[in-house]
Symmetry: C2
Subunit: 100 residues, 2 copies
């Protein structure tokens, strides 16, 4: 399995993070990940077709919000909470505090 | 001058606000408006062509972030700070607190 590309913490861009969170499916994935250590794509896709969610995971990775690692045949996703909080203090907490 | 349409405060949607703020020109306009009572489009366009910025103002209006009123031949823009803060407490403050 080819490793996914992720931006380093120093390259995170506010507008890109806001864009990643401007879609209800991606926001739902991030809300879910904020409450667990990590989750497979299957646990996060809400039963949606793989073709739909794989694009959303890509946007989330490219924004720096989500880290995806291949473990065996599974894809394990983790919220990059520390990287985001260090770079954009208070941002994610304020967004996740809004009612779903 | 035909009045612009604006969503009522009760219809504001988090994802739409985040989308409106996910573009650097729109974020710059909102940052500017956060520091003044109101401003004309000309004061906010940063010298960009009207065709470019009119789309951005439309997105900002439709998200509920900005109110545009025609006054004589001018368009006066105001940040709907109270509506946004009441509906999404802490959100705008957290975003505007990030360095530009």
């Amino acid at each position: 399995m080819r490793p996914y590309k992720h931006p380093p913490a120093s390259d995170l861009v506010l507008e890109r993070v806001l864009y990643a969170l401007s879609d209800s499916i991606r926001l739902e994935i991030v809300r879910h990940l904020a409450g667990v250590d990590n989750a497979t794509c299957g646990e996060l896709d809400g039963g949606r077709p793989k073709s739909t969610v794989s694009h959303h995971f890509k946007v989330l990775r490219e924004s720096g919000l989500v880290l995806t690692e291949g473990v065996g045949t599974a894809h394990i996703n983790t919220l990059r909470r520390d990287d985001i909080d260090r770079r954009f203090p208070g941002l994610l907490a304020a967004i996740l505090a809004q009612p779903a």
